[in-house]
Amino acid sequence: MSARILEVKSLKKHFPVKSNLLGKAMETVKAVDGIDLYINYGEVLGLVGESGCGKSTTGRTILRLLDPTEGEILFEGNDIAKYNKKQLRTVYRNLQLIFQDPFASLNPRKKVGSAIEEVLYVHKIRNAAERKEKVKELFEMVGLRQEDMDKYPHEFSGGQRQRIVIARALAVNPKLIICDEPVSALDVSIQAQIVNLLNSLKNRLALSYLFISHDLRIVKYMSDRVAVMYLGKIVEIAPAEELFSNPLHPYSEALLSAIAVLKPGKKKKKIVLEGEVPSPVNPPSGCRFRTRCKYAMKQCSETEPQLKCLGGEHFVRCYLH
């Protein structure tokens, strides 16, 4: 068995936006346009980028909530990109998801205890007493009280709801959890509680995470390695420590310099990017970042740079390196 729980190879997800008279797509949004990444067992891979860069689409496509246009998704060595619904059900015992908005991801008419029981039922734990016991155990694990099982989602605060969503994801003993902005909807004082919970669960249950977020501080804190996405492509991927201390792609450099420091005296130089993210319908030729890049050269507009290994696990997609 390889050390990789997940390996994604040239994954693409295009959405048709305009079609001609015959219903054939004329234009497509290239939300995810050929990305490669892997996650080792027990590892946290952070995925950062700005809105519209395709990070959530990547997460959803890996989960097969969206069907990939092209590419392979190797989960524990099996390509799940072409699995049918029935086959996927077995995959979902090991692969789970935590959504951003805990207000939208729980059924408001269902008691939270039974919402989790349902997951167990679907995954073939048919003994009612056994299910109750398991829910009890899960509630304890995420720091909720047993009495809470008989409450409805609206009776909980945002942080507690996110705990319920985490309990539901853990119900099937997954190995990999895709966390899509798991703390973005929460207040600062509550964020820390959930981040700590995710960290301790990871250590206790030997989980792997794909941690998608736009909050760079939290990604840095959570991740072993971090991938930076821009307009549907990964532009840099490196161990977290290394990326944050020595970003090599001009986009990563600008993105990371935009993090506000918490010490008012220590103002660092920000790299303020000009212009805006181009449309993913017609991305620029060659390097996608060249329209905003201050180092752009002639060859950047001609051919697209490849993701190049700079030693160890540091990969960059840029002609400067």
Binding site: S157, L216, R217, P264
Partner: protein, 322 residues
């Protein structure tokens, strides 16, 4: 620098919802000098936006009611002004930048119309004069091709561009006071950097005072001179940005700062949590509002409201310093 442009004294705002009275702002006082930036921080529901809307007199009443206090703007109490007077002041002497640029611009009017309206209303300019000033404003907030943008509608612009338009509207008459309510929360990090830089540059150009409302401590650290930390309708700590960030005194301020992983923080270190949840403002009837989540409560905290105390350079509402 010491001329006070705004003084808020003992402001109380209640919301009446059926039988329930929620004290959203409960005795807030602060002042703002000319050219100064005050960062107002706190979590959702702490009363920071309600404070801002009270100053602008934009609160919907009912359900809200200002029950006590004064808002002195250039020495005059805004709470005694008529609606007509307020219309003349808003947009001219004070203005507001809202969080969501999509919902705060009118979708069926052109950008040009929405900005030139400010000049026509407040400076009695003709349509043509107003339009040429509008183009100047758009240039000032660095919108490319302003002659084209004035004919466009909000949906044709990106989020960052729309927020620039909002800033152009707010700055049109060079107001003495600008209230920015989470001006970059809806924007991406790199666009946020552009907007913050713009606000800082424009501020030094027209020497306005700014109240910057945010839940993001990083932004406040970057732009503010003074900081007020709000919790459950009250200011719990107030001081200049250096002393609040480097030597926070109130347990809540300390907790907030430690709850964020700084960029050089080790992964092995556990984040400090503030236990429990934010209480509703009407939940805690007596004593310190933070008592249910505080790790250093004393007897007094349970029953008596802490006074505002001078500790170092800061004002702190906590019994531990009494």
């Amino acid at each position: 620098m010491n001329e006070k442009i705004l003084k808020v004294e003992d402001l109380h705002v209640d919301f009446h919802l059926g039988d329930r009275v929620i004290p959203a702002v409960d005795g807030v006082s602060f002042s703002l000098s000319k050219g100064e930036t005050l960062g107002l921080v706190g979590e959702s529901g702490c009363g920071k936006s309600v404070t801002a809307l009270s100053i602008m007199r934009l609160l919907q009443m009912p359900p809200a009611r200002i029950t006590r206090g004064k808002i002195l703007f250039r020495g005059e109490n805004l709470l005694n002004k008529s609606d007509e007077d307020m219309r003349r002041i808003r947009g001219k002497d004070m203005s507001m930048i809202f969080q969501e640029p999509m919902t705060s611009l009118n979708p069926v009017l052109t950008i040009g119309y929405q900005i030139s309206e400010v000049f026509i209303q407040h400076q009695n300019l003709s349509k043509e004069e107003a339009l040429s000033k509008t183009i100047d404003m758009l240039e000032l907030v660095r919108i490319p091709l302003p002659e084209r943008v004035v004919k466009q509608y909000p949906h044709q612009l990106s989020g960052g561009m729309r927020q620039r338009v909002m800033i152009a509207v707010a700055l049109a008459c060079e107001p003495g006071l600008i209230i920015a309510d989470e001006p970059t929360t809806a924007l991406d990090v790199t666009v946020e950097a552009q907007i913050l830089e713009l606000i800082n540059q424009l501020k030094s150009k027209i020497n306005s005072s700014i109240i910057m409302i945010s839940h993001d401590l990083g932004i406040v650290a970057e732009v503010a001179d003074k900081v007020a930390v709000m919790y459950s309708g009250r200011i719990v700590e107030y001081g200049d940005v250096y002393s609040v960030f480097t030597e926070p005194k109130h347990p809540y301020t300390k907790g907030l700062l430690e709850a964020i992983p700084d960029i050089d923080m080790s992964r092995k270190k556990r984040l400090k949590e503030i236990r429990g949840v934010v209480p509703y403002p009407d939940e805690i009837k007596e004593g310190c509002r933070f008592k249910t989540r505080c790790d250093c409560t004393k007897e007094d905290c349970m029953v008596k409201e802490p006074p505002f105390l001078h500790v170092g350079g800061n004002l702190v509402r906590c019994w531990n310093y009494a």
